[in-house]
Amino acid sequence: MFGYLLKRLIQMTLVLWVVSVIVFLMMSFTGDPVFMVVPIDATDAEIAQARRLLGLDQSLLVQYGKFLTSLVQGDFGNSYVFRQPAMTLILERMPATVEMVLVAMALAIVVAIPLGVYAGANPNSRISRVIMAGSLLGISLPGFWVGMVLIYLFAVHWGVFPSSGRGDTAEFLGLRISLLTWDGWHHIMLPAITLSLGTMAILLRMTRAGMMEVGRQDFMKFARAKGATRRDVLYKHGLKNALIPVVTIFGLQLGDLIAFATITETIFSWPGMGKLLIDSIYRADRPVIVVYLMLVALIFVVINFIVDIVYTLIDPRITLK
């Protein structure tokens, strides 16, 4: 286990370093951030002053060196646009995103797993066909379109949900959480549903495929023969063996949604961190982009680590080496 952790840690450091190098190199092609900050008719002297204040007057290599040295000291650098610490900007927007993604993932699991099991166990029933057709829709409809339709129907037309924003929040451990208030739940539903549809469809199809595969195995017949109920056979024996690929996809989707929920956040003006990434890309705000993508890489590494542990729980034959 210790060796495994060490290997993972080295791997992670390497990934984070590569991300930082790539972003630094890429950003030298996406325009000069100083022109996003100074007025359009700024004189050369004014531009030079802004460049100096932002630390952009040095060569890229020197800038990268400075970035690394302050990184080691726990300073992630300041945004060019906001003039605030990049890490703070991201972290203050993170709870809203994580919260929305967790609700979306919970929705996806609650709907996808039972429907997937059913469709896998009864591949030829009419209901299964409806479920599978529905899942195709879930995969193929673009999130921004679904979001707009939901807003139009539920907010503008029927007035049952608010169109946008986060609503009331309550403090918990110093974080602002909307899941602790009724108004917060009211606001989170539409964006969470929008965000969950794609993942829901993928999980459903993975579960179904796994179940169909497992259903042909001998141990399923034995289980039924020894007198286990149909429900026990499906969920205890079947699902558990079909779950490994589902958990893998779940982990990847979770990371993906946390990192890139941008579109849903923009449509529902949800105050999350995905929108910050897009805005920063438009404004060539390199410090924010670097820290953001490094954080995303970290999230993926952590999630994959947890997924590995979950593997061992599902299937005792798997060990972490």
Partner: protein, 519 residues
């Protein structure tokens, strides 16, 4: 100073219908309004940077010495009055008894501090025309300019006064989060990307605001902004999407308010002997070719087809409210759409077969910018100009087209002059490059005309505003004849509000709750 033309007034300053009397008693005290903006402000510290949402917040939280009204007329702000001591020295008499939100008294030393602070900040342009400033006593400051400069008060309308003691103690980074000014509102709460709440400052020197609480919500997606208005989540929205205009009008209970903006979309033509994207000699050095290009462009078609009728074709380089605008002169009449005439001009100049060049334009800066560029390409094809399009996002654009303009021959960009004076625009865009520091720094077409330079020099060295106006009007006439740049149209600002909200949009787009009221 001239006022906006009648058409502008009719189109823009339409107040919003009044709701029945019953509704008005509901909120006799504690009126509040929620405004949907296109984006969250980046800053609350005026010296940290500028963009529209931040500017809107600045003028709620802080005051300038000279106040710019919604129609671009200038009047007393924190300075009660001012006079010229001599040609380069101005004396500003400050208002007595004004205090910052924290109770600190506003004095002359705060003004001096703000000017010095701006010089070291990312916005030295705010004080570029101030040579020195001294506090004569607690309520008087004397400002000297490097040369006689008639529009100093207009410039000062953008310099927002900081509290010396508080700003020094707070530091630049925290000033963005904990602003402190003398303005009509103080910051109550700012949750990034979610909402920014302002509370009325009842000790405001011009009287307590009518609206006691203002909530700004950033709603980036235009369709969501419309939805939030229709569901009553917000009372007013900025930048109503063009495609939603009819929808909101039909809904009932809401009104759409439009006003021509100050943003003039213009085409800059390269006038160097050789141009980066043109093979051989640059045809645009010939005035006839520039005039032909102007005559080949159908601004009315662009307005109708690309802009959905929500643009105002430009008559000159600056709007009629500005110093330097020549009454009755119209670019559209001087260079009307005339393909045959344009072809004849091209032939006369020796380019009957046309030439090939590239237009640099943005795709995310101006309303429908990429579509305008495409329309231009098909229009210029009619006079045999093969216009290649080089369209890019704004993060690349400003660096790409920057003087010395090593890549561009033909550039589409926008220009607005909220100071109400053509001088700064002419000095930056049309003054010969590299001749004088602080002039011609955005002269992307390398236009150079000694007569023009002389007029700008004279305008920038007279302390009399009438003389400046006359000189700049002459400059306008030269530009209209020389055509170094083609003005296309002014974009229109579109707001929507529920009935009962009294909103008269400002020409500079800075929504100001102090001027609003709700029923």
């Amino acid at each position: 100073m001239k006022y906006l033309s009648q058409t502008a007034l009719r189109a823009g300053a339409v107040g919003v219908a009044v709701l029945a009397a019953a509704a008005s008693m509901a909120q006799a005290e504690g009126k509040s309004v929620t405004i949907g903006l296109t984006s969250d402000p980046s800053h609350l510290y005026p010296l940290a940077g500028e963009e529209l949402s931040s500017n809107i917040m600045y003028y709620h939280l802080y005051d300038p010495l000279v106040k710019r009204a919604g129609d671009l007329s200038f009047g007393p702000g924190l300075a009660e009055s001012w006079e010229n001591v001599d040609e380069t020295t101005w004396r500003f008499n400050l208002r007595n008894g004004v205090s910052f939100h924290n109770g600190n008294a506003f004095t002359a030393s705060d003004v001096v501090f703000t000017v010095e602070k701006a010089r070291e900040s990312i916005r030295p342009d705010l004080v570029a025309n101030i040579a020195s400033i001294t506090a004569v006593d607690d309520t008087t400051v004397e400002i000297t300019t490097p040369k006689p400069y008639a529009v100093l008060p207009n410039d000062l309308a953008e310099l927002l006064i900081l509290d010396e003691e508080y700003t020094t103690a707070t530091g630049d980074t925290d000033m963005d989060l904990k602003p402190m000014g003398t303005g009509p509102y103080r910051l109550d709460q700012w949750i990034k990307e979610e909402k920014l709440v302002l509370k009325a400052f009842d000790g405001y020197w011009a009287g307590a605001p009518k609206i006691k609480e203002v909530t700004f919500r950033p709603i980036t997606n235009p369709a969501t902004r419309t939805a939030a208005l229709l569901t009553g989540e917000v009372d007013v929205i900025q930048d109503l999407a063009v495609r939603d205009v009819d929808r909101v009008k039909k809904e009932g209970g809401f009104s759409v308010i439009t006003r021509p903006s100050l943003l003039n979309v213009v085409l800059a033509m390269d006038m160097r002997e050789e141009s980066p994207t043109i093979e051989g000699k640059n045809p645009m050095t010939d005035q006839r070719v520039r005039a032909a290009i102007a005559q080949a462009i159908d601004v009315d078609a662009i307005n109708k087809i690309v802009m959905n009728g929500l643009a105002t074709p430009s008559d000159q380089y600056v709007p009629s409210s500005h110093i330097g605008h020549v009454d009755g002169m119209n670019f559209r009449e001087m260079y009307p759409l005339d393909i045959d005439g344009a072809k004849a001009l091209m032939a006369e100049a020796g380019y009957a077969d046309g030439f090939t060049m590239t237009l640099d334009a943005t795709n995310n800066r101006y309303v429908n910018d990429a579509q305008i560029a495409q329309a231009l390409a098909s229009m210029l094809a009619k006079i045999n100009i093969d216009l290649q399009l080089n369209i890019m996002p704004k993060s690349n654009f400003w660096g790409y087209i920057r003087v010395p303009t090593e890549n561009s021959s033909f550039i589409m960009s926008g220009w607005d002059v909220p100071s109400g004076d053509a001088g700064s625009m002419y000095g930056a865009l049309f003054y010969s490059r590299g001749k004088k520091d602080g002039y011609g720094q955005v002269n992307r077409g390398s236009y150079s005309n000694a007569e023009m330079d002389a007029l700008v020099d004279q305008a920038d060295s007279t302390p009399k505003i009438e003389e400046r106006d006359a000189l700049l009007q002459q400059a306008t006439k030269i530009l209209m004849a020389d055509v170094p740049m083609i003005p296309l149209h002014y974009e229109q600002d579109i707001y929507a509000a529920r009935d009962g909200v009294m909103l008269e949009p400002r020409v500079d787009k800075f929504l100001w709750a102090y001027d609003m009221d709700v029923k």
